[in-house]
Subunit: 400 residues, 2 copies
């Protein structure tokens, strides 16, 4: 380590999550301890902020702001989905040089890991001294080479809690509206849709049906499944991935591109589409819920485990650059043993970049189960403490 302090630049990329700010605070707070690091510079809107020199002095933020930000969803620096254009990489390295950035921490998904990796490579080529570390985040949980991604646990807690509540609500009102279809994020990977199974605390509890994007299904199959569950239980709560596909590989929602009487295009999502089709085919009244970005931004349902791991991932990134690492992503490694414990490690960015981890076969089951016990054991610790207990009447009938 040379004696001269150099600046650390941090940015947030891709979709926000409930805990991407925890990682940011982890970076800022850890960096504050080390004389090797000068100013922590935050780039606004991901790599765009570097290109546009929209830079903030995060070292000047006060401790109370950072403490609150640690439990504030969304991306405080702003984010973007900027696709790199020719010349961007050169420009980025030039900006880094201008602001004496010696360390670059990029919080993002697999696209961002690719960007980080390319920036690191170009700096090396140019002989510019830069250490680059990626910090994983995504509610989709689709990064390879890590047990799970910060952001996933909180989104999973939201999904589990929402499906549990929806089960109670639908069961109570089953005599008027017996079918409820809830659309879950994750266009390719079913990790979040599968987390809906964490809602179940007893046999036959909601969700009674789970449709993963990895498992092709037809609209007719779904209608048949729902009809069967309603005949048996009196109601059905369905968790469906926004990306569920038919056996030909088309999104089910794609066929729902409709046009209203005035010629306006209608895109309501797969849940609205299925609710309409179920009612049409079976006469059963159906409602849908599309929580959309609520899944990734719920203050009330942040998983404390997730927030803590996100924070530690941020801290680990700073320690990694100080130890001389570069071109790596912080990952989460689950320790073997009966109690859930996680430590951070490092994995080369190229191993993560542009790859996508789908649910493995041993985690998937038919729609009535949705996921296996192995998946539940994997996912349960990530959502934090058990959901608050619900009361349920023992139902002692009165003799007629």
């Amino acid at each position: 380590m040379s004696g001269r302090a150099r600046n650390l630049l941090v940015a947030q990329s891709g979709g926000p999550t409930a805990v991407i700010n925890s990682s940011l605070v982890g970076v800022v707070e850890e960096a504050g301890h080390w004389r090797e690091i000068g100013t922590v510079i935050g780039a606004e809107r991901g790599i765009k902020g570097v290109l546009e020199e929209s830079l903030l002095d995060l070292s000047a933020e006060d401790a109370a702001t950072l403490a609150a930000l640690r439990y504030t969803p969304s991306a405080a620096l702003g984010t973007s989905r900027h696709k790199l254009r020719p010349g961007d990489l050169d420009r980025i390295v030039d900006v880094f040089e201008k602001y004496d950035v010696g360390y670059f921490c990029y919080i993002g998904g697999n696209d961002s890991m690719d960007t980080a990796s390319r920036i690191g490579a170009l700096a090396r080529e140019k002989g510019y001294d830069l250490r680059v570390i990626g910090i994983p985040k995504t509610v989709d949980n689709d990064l390879v080479e890590t047990d799970h991604c910060p952001g996933y646990g909180s989104a999973a807690r939201f999904v589990a809690s929402t499906l549990r509540d929806a089960g109670l609500d639908t069961e109570a009102g089953a005599s008027s509206t017996p079918v409820k279809i809830i659309e879950i994020m994750g266009r390719h990977a079913g990790w979040l849709t599968g987390a809906s199974a964490l809602a179940r605390e007893r046999p036959d509890a909601a969700p009674q049906l789970i449709y993963l994007p990895e498992r092709p299904v037809t609209v007719e199959d779904i209608i048949g499944d729902i009809d069967r569950v309603v005949r048996r239980l009196g109601y059905a709560v369905v968790a469906v991935s926004e990306g569920v596909r038919d056996p030909e590989g088309s999104f089910l929602a794609a066929v729902s591109e409709a046009v209203d009487a005035f010629g306006h295009r209608q895109l309501g999502g797969v849940s609205a589409y299925l609710a309409n089709r179920v009612t049409e085919a079976t006469g059963l009244k159906a409602r849908f819920e599309k929580p959309d970005t609520m899944q990734r931004a719920s203050t009330a349902l942040i998983s404390p485990v997730d927030a803590e791991e996100a924070y530690e991932a941020g801290r680990a990134a700073v320690r990694a650059v100080l130890e001389g690492h570069s071109g790596q992503m912080v990952n989460l490694i689950r320790e073997p043993g009966p109690n859930y414990r996680v430590r951070t490690g490092l994995v080369p960015l190229e191993k993560v970049a542009n790859r996508e981890r789908l649910l493995p076969p041993e985690f998937m089951a038919d729609p009535e189960e949705g996921v296996t016990e192995a998946f539940l054991a994997y996912a349960r610790p990530l959502i934090g403490p058990p959901l608050p207990p619900h009361g349920r009447l023992a139902r002692h009938p009165i003799r007629r």
Copy 2:
């Protein structure tokens, strides 16, 4: 009071809420203290359970179940929207006689208060000794003769928290998707949509636009408003009532009845419709959220104030029948003074039955404000403690 104990029958009606079970537990626990009351009988699925003699012995439920049920959303007895048919009222009084029901507590909205009132009148006509008390519930907050309704505060807390989170999320991702439209329950009354304004903790915070069902508006107006806000702030979060109407009185969502390529009818709700129209007209990418029944059933966002008041309303109903009252609804009366305090009172069922309380003019404002300070002062105490604090960067720019 005669010395002979008679049974108390309780039922839940209409849409579930987050705290309708708190009222149920209030009834069961209070009734347990009084020797004048024999068994507390729960009718399943509202008045349907009486007609079908689907009756449960709630006095036999254990204390732990009741304690947990007090904070469990949805309707533990089940509910229905049964329209009374000829002969139903006679049948109900006969069933009450068969099970020696001397007290009837009906938890519901304005329809249910009408039903309760008619049952009381027929019993009187027949000379059957019955005391009837209504317990208000509705997330719509549209009952007259009460300061507010149990169920509203929790739904309002959900809406406020969700809009605050959506503001952060949309602002962070504004460079890719600047518009977010969130559909709020309440087809005729804007109490719940107005509660979205409780999300605002600083100037220009979300929701930037609020559309109430009481205030007619055209799609073109909404598009123009959104475009203007996005030009000024870079993004717009919109709270729109599911029941928003155009100046001719038609629901905006009604014109969105579309048909897909296969002739299937598409009903995505007004939020999906507006998101499509905004993108079409302005080119701005728009997303929508339809939390639907999540608004009335969120365990994580129960307002403790609401849960407590719902419980006390249940207790007050039991005390009212014991004091000889009948044909009344428990209401909530806000005490004057700087600190929020509420006591229960009684109001004749006929004054409440089949009436609907819309937002009064002094609570409504133009879409950019949505509601007035007077509304905020009214609604704020009902959602319980302030939402957990969020951190926000002070944003010290780095000099170029």
